[in-house]
Symmetry: C2
Subunit: 440 residues, 2 copies
């Protein structure tokens, strides 16, 4: 392998590989290397995620990033590439208060031509009969402040995909164009230097224009690898690379836990899983309950549900993850004490359900506005901040990074469907992303 | 000492003590405790700072925060309290390019009635005769890209103060009003709880409304101290407290180094120090050179200069400081290789000057926009992000924290001079601070 590239990309998750593909496609004459500490594509947090997608956002930035990416994923699968994509929909079940307060956001999304349907309690009784909608004088519901159901919203261009298959798609096409990937290769550090070094020990000095000139690798590839541009797409490991050279990677790592429950031996859970009232697939959509963001994902091919919820307080943030992915484990008590009591309040089918599998990974949180970013700094392009909705924006992000590479932070990126997007909206220096209001 | 307070403030630097004073003054019936890990006021980074002040900002937020604070400091000293305040001015020496590009910002500041004078090279030759303004064909200047001087701007309501004296002033007045301070008391952790606990192990659960209910202390005070509100004013230690409960403290710690050079045995340095052309004190103003933010501070009572510069790249960021303040040391090589070559290029008086003393501390950087913040979150008010200009805004910050305590994030704070300020401008949720353009 050569030790000198035009571009080195750190991270072979969906983001890094989407960047790799569009950079190579847009700049075929440039030599590009992707490095990743793991042994294959998407072995970090891409593979540990829920991997859902939706275009239901009030923020016009979130909308264009997700909508064009989803269109690309849908058309790619239509063209014969299996991305494990199922357009099964999202169903937000809301309390009366949520349903009432959110009407304005629903209207805003409808105005933006997002396919969104609303259901009242009558509709829900018919379409999702086992959902408990009223809790009366139940002591437990009062203790837990479990709200009655007021209605629901259903997003159509929403569903799930397979993050490994999507990553493989980008990787295959990147390799086909002549790109290189080095697995099992950890980036020990970024190399701080100058374009024209004087050869004095201690460079760069304060009076020099310092920049990142490459990476120091260990693993299958070792030593210094020089690059004219380094793309940082390392998710929760951004800060680990950037803190030592005094650049904020703008992410915090937050543990995300998923639990599976099998429907195989429960006719009631089978019935719930095979609900045919919402989509053509005849499968329960992704259901978000009105309490603590508790959610239910049907994975019909395994006859199982994936379950999780949102902890907004008292779940540690890490500047860089303190546990490795292998040591970062899901907590049975989190299922038992936090998730399960909410779940079985709304769906009695889950009474006594025990998790068959559980795992944990990390969200890559941009704590400023929970929206992604792309910015240039000292010879690098830094991308990330998915904050739980990164995969569904991955295609747009790769195209934006390519545009920034060619034209700088003020580039107009051309997204799928021919829509253009001003890249500097998601920089930090010129940040002007519209904040998301649909957060339930 | 009681173990139950209305308000506990973490941090007895200038920010924490200004908060303490205004909170106690505004809410005399409330019990307030300040805790700090050190043995006296301002023993963290307040005391290790340059402790300069200026009102020369283009951002209207920076202007009102600094201008009202400086007015308060000036009037306080006028009333007979020694704050070690010297209004000796700031002199920005600029390259031709800087001088030309910055005219619009100078004009903006003049429009905002900021006392600012400009000097051309003719003025500078007369007023600061030893400053080298032209480097001709000098090989070293070309190598280091040391620019010729194009002019200067002089800020009048600018100077230095004594951070320990200012902290003591706030502390004394806080104690006089009945506030309590516990030194040598480290906050081991914030306590995550709920207002009405159920008494089940593992609280707060996801379905409860969690909040911070106090601190766990070790040192002179030990154990749980309950508080209805906890104010976090811990500077670079914000993240250490907040990361474990999943709230971003929004600061990065960055090492700041200062070096002193004595003028006692050098008539040339004495002449420079006692320059009488800029202010009534007959002392050289704070001089910022046109290269790498290299600066010269005259400390006339010790007949010495304090010297430093800005390293914007390759100086590590820490989420929380990796070194203690005692182990965080200034680097002689930083003086020799980075600072000194710039300094003696402009002022030949410093030829062969060796530092008599040197020390290091940390900047508390808000990497988003280098401007301070105050925000509410889960039973806390979190303040910080001074980013190198915190002390000069300390008085306004304390008043804003008090306003947020009484009226929430959307409070209108009344600053010194009777000017009002919308506190939510410096929150994160509603952030709308005007970015600073005067950054040279």
């Amino acid at each position: 392998m050569p030790s000198d590239y035009d571009i080195v990309i750190v991270g072979a998750g969906i983001l890094g590989l989407s960047c790799a593909y569009y950079l190579k496609k847009g700049n075929p004459g440039k030599t590009i290397l992707v490095v990743d500490r793991f042994g294959d594509v998407a072995q970090g947090n891409s593979a540990r995620s829920n991997a859902m997608f939706r275009n239901t956002f009030t923020s016009k930035d979130n909308l264009i990033l997700s909508d064009t990416s989803i269109d690309f994923y849908l058309d790619t699968q239509k063209s014969g590439v299996d991305l494990g994509l199922k357009k099964s929909g999202y169903l937000w079940v809301m309390s009366e208060k949520q349903f009432s307060l959110n009407q304005r956001y629903i209207q805003k999304m409808l105005d933006n031509k997002i396919e969104l349907r609303t259901y009242d309690n009558q509709d829900l009784r018919r379409m999702l009969p086992s959902l408990k909608r009223e809790f009366g004088e139940s002591e437990e519901a009062q203790l837990m402040k479990i709200p009655d159901v007021g209605g629901a919203a259903f997003g159509v261009k929403c569903g799930r995909l397979d993050p490994e298959k999507l990553s493989r798609f980008y990787s295959d096409n990147f390799l086909r164009l002549g790109g290189k990937v080095a697995f099992n290769t950890n980036v020990k550090s970024l190399i701080a230097g100058v374009d024209e070094p004087l050869g004095i020990e201690g460079e760069p000095f304060v009076w020099q224009e310092g920049k990142v000139t490459g990476i120091l690798a260990e693993g299958e590839i070792k030593g210094e690898i020089k690059a004219k541009t380094v793309v940082i797409a390392a998710g929760v490991w951004n800060n680990e690379l950037l803190d030592p050279i005094g650049i904020d990677g703008h992410v915090k790592a937050k543990k995300r836990q998923l639990f599976t429950v099998s429907a195989k031996r429960s006719p009631a859970l089978q019935t719930l899983l095979r609900n045919g009232n919402f989509n053509e697939l005849g499968v329960l959509p992704f259901v978000i309950l009105p309490k603590s963001g508790c959610y239910v994902k049907a994975v019909e091919e395994n006859s199982e549900f994936w379950l999780g919820c949102e902890d907004e307080f008292n779940r540690p943030y890490y500047s860089t993850p303190e546990e490795t992915l292998d040591s970062c484990k899901a907590e049975p008590s989190y299922y038992e004490q936090s998730l399960y009591p909410i779940l079985r309040s709304y769906f009695s089918e889950f009474e006594n359900a025990k998790p068959a599998q559980m795992w944990a990974g990390y969200y890559s949180m941009n704590t400023l506005d929970s929206m992604p970013f792309v910015f240039e700094e000292n010879g690098m392009i830094i991308a990330g901040g998915g904050s739980g909705s990164g995969i569904m924006k991955g295609d747009a992000m790769g195209r934006i990074v390519d545009a920034v590479y060619r034209e700088g932070e003020h580039a107009e990126a051309m997204l799928y469907s021919g829509k253009s997007y001003a890249a500097d909206r998601m920089s930090f220096k010129y940040r002007s992303v519209e904040r998301e209001e649909w957060v339930i």
